[in-house]
């Protein structure tokens, strides 16, 4: 007989089972609702509370005179909510919004994995006529709406396309690196200052907390928005760019391939950085039409290429100033040393001059831009020592300007030639280098920087485009930049500057740009171009007595520097210097006298 359980025990067992189950359940509830409450609460919030990002207003750009260069302007963004949208509207919408055929279908497909209740941007910066059409046909356009978003606007008329740059939708690769801040579809600075100062400009994103249901549909604000975090506007940058000068430079360059760079010698502040041809930043302000991109890419002049800091050409005769500085500083010549020019120089072969200058000293050699003088000088200096001076003046290296689009250029030394030609490299290359031709490449920005250093007697700052930023209270904070000192004697600069003064005001090569009351000191250059017409170059600073601006101008395939480049420099210098003269005294006698006094030492 097997064991039987008494009725009393059976009741106790059932009683035990009930108590056990109830105890387990109470214990489990205690664990979930009290011990692990925080975790579950966080999960519940994560489920139903969605933080909607508020993109911060991007910082704007002011020029050095606090004129607005780049601003935010409201623009219409058309959106589609896939859950409510009827795809039979595709072709109609594409026509109205000026989109390519199949664009919407493609976009919906790409975003198919996201919630169908999140609106997708179809078109940023839509025309008002399109918005009007949407408004009129509202009842037929389920799932189509529009919102106002900010896009970049350029009120000044100065394009500055290469300097200001633009933002683009963040790429998956960038997103991987910066995922703590950015979301897919966010804009991020792509070139120019927009890229370099992205972290200052973007501000801090804000968050609005909303409630969504299990289908990710918005139901309302979470706690009426008490937890919402407003976005913080980005920093407004104050550029060193002078809007008016930039505009003049751009107008002067219009229709040509070339560049202008202007720097304030005492501070290294870049006042003009213009490259031509330009591109229309408005076309990049949010969505770039494919046609426009294709047009830019197919243009043989490559408009997206920033010539001011990336076009490295031989410096031509503007390089002679460097040779003169090196020779004087090294003591291989004195100011009174004269060399003879008989019209040509023979070293293996004959190197020509553009005239027969006879005996001249270094000042006269600069004034006349005598080639023979400098053919001889480079042998006295030596290639490697010349490179050392070139490097001190910022050639052959990146200057460290605050945009990424910058190249090194090239200054050769003997190691460079040994690498190409071997130990016995032909020294017949050297005479050309003495006059800035051949394997030496510099950018217009490097030339301007070089000219600024000469103007300010070898001391300046790393060239930069941004002076500082404005805080929320519109208070200005300046950025600090590294000081540059080439470490060369003042007397050397005096000699070279006198030569440059004579180029314009004496019997030099750029007397065509002389102005009576503003003394420009400059140096012309013509860079030989094996592919076509020579590039015209001109570097200058002014006023000679107390330089406030240094300019470099490059016009590609134009010809002589004096003819093509110098007048542009003159216009910029004249505008700038005149503006800073007391207006009422601009034409006064006193002023004229002062200028005359300054000019006295070189009267004849």
């Amino acid at each position: 007989m097997s064991a039987k359980i008494s009725l009393f025990d059976r009741k106790k067992i059932i009683y035990g089972i009930i108590i056990a189950v109830v105890s387990i359940y109470i214990f489990k509830l205690f664990e979930m609702q009290i011990l692990a409450h925080a975790q579950f609460d966080a999960k519940a919030s994560d489920n139903s509370i969605k933080a909607i990002e508020q993109i911060a207003l991007r910082g704007v750009f002011y020029d050095r005179n606090m004129k607005l260069l780049v601003e935010n302007t409201p623009a219409y963004t058309v959106r589609i909510t896939p859950a409510e949208y009827d795809t039979s509207l595709n072709s109609k919408l594409e026509t109205i919004l000026d989109l390519e055929n199949g664009f919407i279908k493609n976009m919906l497909f790409k975003n198919r994995t996201y919630s169908k209740f999140i609106p997708l941007r179809v078109k940023r910066g839509a025309d008002f006529s399109a918005i009007a059409w949407i408004e009129e046909n509202r009842e037929h356009l389920f799932g189509v709406d529009y919102v106002i978003e900010m896009q970049r606007g350029y009120p000044n008329g100065a394009m500055g396309s290469h300097v200001f740059g633009y933002s683009k939708e963040i790429s998956p690769q960038q997103l991987k690196k910066e995922e703590q801040y950015y979301q897919p579809g966010d804009l991020i600075g792509s070139i120019g200052l927009e890229k370099k100062y992205e972290k200052d400009l973007r501000g801090e994103k804000g968050y609005n907390y909303i409630l969504v249901d299990s289908r990710r549909r918005e139901v309302g604000k979470y706690k009426n928005g008490v937890n919402d975090l407003p976005s913080q506007k980005g920093k407004d940058l104050v550029l060193s760019i002078d809007g008016e000068l930039q505009k003049i430079a751009e107008q002067e360059l219009n229709g040509r391939a070339g560049a202008v760079a202007a720097i304030e010698p005492s501070t290294g502040e870049v006042m003009v950085l213009a490259s031509s041809p330009q591109f229309d930043l408005n076309q990049f302000s949010y969505f770039t039409p494919k046609d426009y991109l294709r047009q830019l890419l197919n243009d043989p002049l490559k408009p997206q290429f920033n010539r001011a800091s990336m076009a490295a050409h031989p410096p031509g005769s503007t390089f002679k100033l460097l040779c003169a500085i090196a020779a004087l500083d090294l003591g291989v010549i004195t100011p009174s040393t004269t060399l003879y020019c008989g019209g040509s120089f023979t070293y293996g072969r004959s190197f020509k001059c553009h005239g027969s200058h006879g005996s001249l000293n270094v000042i006269q050699a600069i004034e006349k831009s005598c080639n023979v003088f400098f053919y001889q000088l480079i042998f006295k200096i030596g290639l490697d020592r010349l490179k050392d001076y070139a490097t001190r003046f910022g050639f052959g290296k990146k200057l460290g300007i605050d945009i990424n689009e910058e190249v090194r250029g090239l200054i050769p030394n003997s190691a460079y030639y040994e690498k190409i030609y071997g130990k016995n490299w032909p020294h017949g290359i050297l005479p050309s280098l003495g006059i800035g031709q051949g394997e030496v490449n510099v950018t217009p920005l490097q030339l301007a920087n070089y000219c600024a250093l000469i103007a300010n007697n070898g001391k300046s700052f790393v060239p930069h485009l941004v002076r500082g930023y404005l805080d929320e209270n519109k208070k200005f904070h300046s950025y600090k930049y590294k000081e540059v000192n080439v470490g060369i004697n003042q007397s050397v600069f005096d000699i070279v500057k006198e030569g440059m003064y004579r180029v314009v005001n004496g019997a030099g090569t750029a007397t065509n740009i002389r102005i009576n009351d503003i003394h420009i000191a400059g140096k012309t250059g013509t860079a030989q171009n094996p592919q076509g017409k020579d590039h015209a170059l001109f570097v200058a600073f002014a006023p000679y007595e107390n330089p406030t601006i240094a300019v470099a101008v490059l016009i590609e395939n134009a010809g002589f520097g004096a003819t093509w480049a110098a007048p542009i420099a003159k216009k910029i210098i004249e505008t700038y210097v005149r503006r800073s003269m007391p207006k009422t005294a601009a034409t006064s006698d006193k002023n004229k006298i002062e200028v005359k006094q300054g000019a006295e030492p070189f009267a004849d």
């Binding site: 059932i14 189950v21 109830v22």
Partner: protein, 409 residues
Amino acid sequence: MRISYKLNDRFDLTIFLSVTLLVVIGLFAIYSSTQNTISQKGNFDKQLISWGISLCVLFFIYALPTKLLKPSAVPTYALSILLLLVVLVIGRKIGGARSWIAFGGFSFQPAEFAKLATILFLSNFLSREETDLDNLKDICIALVIGLFPIALIMLEPDLGSSFVFIGILLALLFWKGISIFGLAVVLSPGIVAVASLFGPIYFAVAVGFVIVILFFFKKDIFLSGSILALNIASGFFVDNIFNILSPHQQTRIRAFIDPNADPLGSGYNAIQAKVAIGSGGFFGKGFLHGNQTQLQFIPEQWTDFIFCVIGEEFGFIGSLFVIILFLVLFLRILRLASFAKNEFLSLVIIGILTVFFVHFLVNIGMAIGILPVIGIPLPFVSYGGSSLLINMAMLGIILNIHRSRKEST
């Protein structure tokens, strides 16, 4: 014997009030969970009406002579089997199972009715004087009575109700006084089958246990051998049984074995249910303020997942209160089982207790993630007319037996 004429002696107010409170809490939860769901907006009103009808039925049954219960067992069982067959042919399919019969504007689940019918019929059989549970034949008859409706319900298929029937069968056999060996024989195939679902190692361990038990009881070799064979067979056939289940139930069982494997798929409900209850905290988020409930993160929250609404909006306090109400109900019914006039009525009481308890066990167990997601309502609380009606009817029987417990036969 002194007969008390106090109300509480004639009518078990404790049971009635516990259930009334559960229904009221249920109404609050139904209102909260359906107010944002357009398709379910009328549920609160419907449940209110069902409650009214159920109360009438309860008092009607309460007032009937207790002696009518026993003779009604056989016809009730026959009718319920008929209805279970009918539903397989003309039943309406809701949620993957063909478990509803509709006529006019009214629909009900025959499985609900079959629970009561099976209790009555099985109690009737077990309470016969000649029934002897040491006799394998009688055990087999009891099993057939219990398993026949299960087989029909598995064809719908309705896994949750099947569990209830298994519970009824085991509880009644136990209450009748089945030997421990007999209980082991009845239970072991099921345990082996469930174990085999988890994998071959679990299966082997379970079979090992069966062998140990068989040695322990030292029955004759033929009996032991056939029981072992039955066990192993049930383990191997569990796949076939598993395949009878509808795909949604299969995935739910798989999700229970590993709920995080597919958090947005079949494990979703289990996870969201736990999140709702856990996030309720001590005092809850307040009536109509549960995010999970109001934003519809849990499907079917007015029926199978109603406990989540209570857990989220009324917190630990609210959940505890509901569980205590059930505890009071269970213990009160269990107490009555030993006062019952005869064995038949005692068995009926235990059967009804089992129905309530298994529903409670499975429903709350699944809401708090202890048991797999098996669609089964929480008695008196969940929305559902036929469920409420049959539960109230069963409660009527309990109260009836309580009323007449001191009357002479």
